[in-house]
């Protein structure tokens, strides 16, 4: 009797063969989704996310738009007990700001009398999700009124990187906010935060986060620091001056000039006692909107889960992304605790078509970048319950010429095309091949 007995028994243990296929298939799909997301963000934004650990807190505004900000906004919607009708949203400035201290005991269970009350869940779902959208557009996209003639301008650069400075640095102009509700970055955060529960949850963190009082420590419901959008007090920089973004030690947060990065990528900055905003949202009509009515998918006395599809103005999608709002009752008010992501019918359909065409040599001339499939995609049918779609699109060859007419049925759960009707609109030209096809032919060992 010795340790070899343990070894011998353990040696006979093996995972099922099916695991191999599942691991490899899932990894390939994840990588493809990641690659597509990156490709899309790069195409849409054209703005580089600044490097360095510390600077990762700051995402260039245009890049943030491309992320379809899972952000969250919201302010205190006071939905009182016994209310058949939803009460009015509180106006910032009129209502006393609730400044919550960070304490150990922040999760407050509803009392018996609260939990048993009669709520109009549908009205609550609509009011809170509407309010969320308004506040997200304010925080993330700068959707506030401003004076276009009252501006301050800075010029950002990186003294250690001429190429970056040339390509991505340059003028950063902010306009004075005239919306009387907001006089500082803190006001924007307070307004955004009013609808958020004391503790919030999002994927990636095992413990709920406590919402901070100070915007510098605040996070959105998708886990991003709000300092990505709220640049803070930039009064130390003279109007018209150059702002150096150089980070001496990217591994050391203390070497990051956060205000400089706030000027470079932020949406708002404080300047000499006033609030300023980048005017891009209004100039380019950037923001988010709903493409569906709210649907309650779960509800109990103190918790509601609401589904609603949301879309970025930059994408022409019928549905966009399904957001799953979890609302909880807290001290008699309904607040948002988390927002999950559900179905993305257009995006997932595009990935399925991409995978389908990639495996067929007769379509080696077709441009199958995910964004190029999504752009002309028409959703003919979408069954959310069964996770299926039928879509139509005319896709281009790599020269941008209409090349195939595709109608496809798709299983959105597995990203697979279950049937496809494809008509060629031009003859296949063997001299036109996607760069990835050429690369695979030249590197057969690395061929997927």
């Amino acid at each position: 009797m010795n340790m070899n007995d343990y070894k011998k028994v353990t040696d006979r243990l093996e995972p099922d063969e099916r695991c191999r296929k599942e691991v490899l298939d899932m990894s390939k799909r994840e990588n493809r989704i990641k690659q597509n997301t990156n490709d899309f963000e790069e195409k849409v934004s054209g703005v580089e996310v600044r490097r360095g650990n510390g600077a990762l807190r700051f995402v260039g505004i245009a890049a943030a738009f491309a992320l379809i900000a899972g952000g969250i906004g919201t302010t205190g919607v006071l939905l009182h007990k016994n209310s058949r009708n939803v009460s009015q949203l509180t106006e910032a400035g009129e209502e006393e700001t609730v400044t919550e201290e960070i304490t150990e005991e922040v999760t407050e269970e509803p009392t018996e009398s609260e939990a048993g009350e009669d709520y109009d869940y549908e009205a609550i779902a609509r009011e809170i999700t509407d309010s969320y959208l308004e506040r997200t557009n304010i925080l993330v996209y700068g959707d506030v009124e401003y004076d276009a003639n009252d501006t301050i301008t800075f010029y950002t650069y990186d003294s250690s990187d001429a190429e970056w400075s040339e390509k991505y640095g340059g003028e950063r102009t902010f306009c004075k906010v005239t919306d009387e509700r907001f006089g500082s970055c803190q006001d924007i955060y307070d307004y955004y935060k009013e609808l958020i529960a004391n503790t919030i949850e999002f994927g990636g963190y095992s413990e709920p986060l406590i919402t901070a009082s100070d915007y510098k420590d605040g996070v959105t419901l998708d886990g991003a620091g709000v300092v990505s959008y709220l640049g803070g007090d930039a009064s130390g920089f003279e109007n018209g001056s150059k702002v150096d973004l150089y980070i001496p030690d990217p591994e050391d947060d203390s070497t990051v000039d956060y205000t400089a990065h706030g000027i470079n990528g932020g949406v708002y900055i404080d300047y000499n006692g006033s609030l300023y905003v980048t005017p891009r949202a209004a100039q380019y009509d950037i923001g988010e909107h709903y493409t569906s009515e709210p649907v309650i998918v779960e509800n109990s006395e103190d918790r509601i889960v609401v589904s609603r599809y949301i879309n970025n103005n930059m994408r022409n999608e019928q549905y966009g992304t399904q957001k799953l709002f979890t609302l909880v009752l807290q001290n008699g008010e309904w607040k948002i605790q988390s927002i999950g992501t559900g179905m993305q019918p257009e995006y997932l359909s595009s990935i399925a078509i991409q995978c389908y065409l990639e495996d067929r040599a007769e379509y080696n001339d077709i441009n199958i970048d995910c964004g190029d499939i999504m752009a002309p995609l028409e959703m003919l049918e979408y069954d959310e319950e069964n996770k299926t779609s039928r879509v139509h699109a005319v896709l281009h060859d790599i020269n941008g010429v209409d090349a195939i007419d595709v109608t496809a049925d798709i299983d959105l759960g597995s990203f697979k095309v279950t049937s496809a009707d494809i008509t060629r609109l031009n003859e296949y030209d063997g001299t036109l091949k996607r760069p990835s096809v050429i690369w695979a032919e030249e590197h057969p060992d690395g061929k997927e």
Binding site: D5, V9, T10, L13, E14, C19, V23
Partner: protein, 172 residues
């Protein structure tokens, strides 16, 4: 200890490379996970998570030893995460050993294996890494994130418990 270099997103791992790494390490990861979870279904789930993490996070290793160490480190961490979850919080001491997937050729094998699997989790990990995987105390310290003296203490106590259970010292 730095185990790897992170690759750019565009250099995502090729499927044939993934298959090669999976085939090379699947048993190592699965057996470590089984030693922790004591059942095949959870061990397979964990193993899949570990490999998907590797294949999608864009890392590459200097050599196969570092690759194996990294995989074991992630496996141990994922096991711990799983056991922190609500599902296991109240079951930790009562998870039955999944006998269906185990075979014993001698009574001694069964006796020793059961003795090891009845050890507390932290002792099972070090026993598995030390005797089965052949890692040194220092290497186990790196994999489990426990300091070397604690690993030594755990090994000592694990051996003592095995001796108490089996009635005699186990030879390595």
């Amino acid at each position: 200890m730095k185990y790897f270099n992170r690759k750019k997103g565009s250099d995502r791992m090729k499927p044939d490379k993934m298959a090669e790494i999976y085939d090379r390490n699947k048993n190592t990861v699965f057996r470590m996970a089984f030693s922790y979870c004591k059942n095949k279904a959870d061990a397979e789930d964990l193993m899949q998570d570990v490999f998907i993490k590797l294949f999608t996070c864009g890392v590459e290793f200097e050599d196969e030893n570092k690759e194996r160490s990294w995989l074991l480190k992630v496996t141990v961490n994922k096991c711990r995460d799983m056991f922190r979850s609500l599902r296991y919080r109240y079951l930790l001491t009562s998870i039955p050993l999944d006998e269906a997937c185990l075979t014993y050729e001698t009574p001694e094998e069964s006796e020793v294996y059961h003795a090891v699997m009845s050890l507390p989790t932290k002792y099972r990990i070090v026993i598995h890494l030390y005797y089965y995987e052949g890692y040194s105390v220092k290497e186990i310290s790196s994999i489990t994130g426990t300091n070397e003296s604690a690993v030594q203490t755990q090994l000592y106590r694990a051996r003592k418990k095995l001796k108490d259970t089996l009635g005699k010292e186990l030879l390595s």
